[in-house]
Symmetry: C2
Subunit: 112 residues, 2 copies
DNA sequence: TTATTATATAAGCAAATTATTATATAAGAA
DNA sequence: TTCTTATATAATAATTTGCTTATATAATAA
């Protein structure tokens, strides 16, 4: 069982204590995504999405790779928080239906 | 593995994404406490503490029992969130040293 | 009864959060 | 080069949060 000190944990829980970011992380746990996919999924402005993923990136729980015009985000399995996050996500129902909706609309970009 | 829907989980994580409340819950996991003990532990005003425990009570993760003048708070093991919270708390280092400090000052009230 | 102790509630305020629109930057296509 | 697409950053506004002080309520002791 990985242990994370209490202040860091509080910070992490606050970060994940937002419906949008929590759903993002749950989705990234099984599929990489780019910003424009999240924009569709969450019906949110592109800067809004960018700000959320930046917060996730700032604490190192997601990482990015540029692929042409797109920046692909994925869960950072090297993060010190990864085991903790895994445990947490296991309690959440799959959000893959959101990806399926995207595919049905022909709006899926990343192929992972 | 207990599953909690994503919106409720986000709400719960936001609630626990505060250092004071997270520490309270970690302590309550092993020992019941009253408000005045928390006031000492967190060097915070009594209304400040009361407001934190009320938030925890409002979503049902802690319960209260009056014992004379004191109101004793404990983790509510019947909460739908209890299994989730247990998993989460297992990643946290014990905060019992805070209780020991209280005892050394002769300020421990509840005996559980 | 009055005084004391423990807790809760109300009001106020500064700081943080989450969204928006406007604009800048980066990559690829024409 | 210019145009389009994808993303990031800046500035701003509305809301929420987390504390404080002042006050109310509840239980016990004198």
């Amino acid at each position: 069982m990985s242990t994370v000190e209490i202040e860091k944990t509080a910070m992490l829980l606050k970060l994940l204590g937002d419906k949008t970011r929590l759903t993002m992380v749950k989705i990234l746990d099984s599929h990489d995504c780019c910003v424009c996919e999240f924009v569709e999924m969450f019906k949110m402005s592109q800067p809004g999405v960018s700000q959320h993923v930046r917060k996730l990136k700032d604490v190192g729980i997601v990482s990015e790779t540029r692929r042409g015009q797109w920046v692909i985000y994925s869960l950072n399995k090297q993060s010190e928080y990864y085991p903790f996050i895994q445990d947490l996500l296991n309690h959440l129902p799959s959000q893959d239906f959101k990806l399926l909706e995207l595919e049905e609309q022909g709006l899926r970009i990343s192929c992972d």
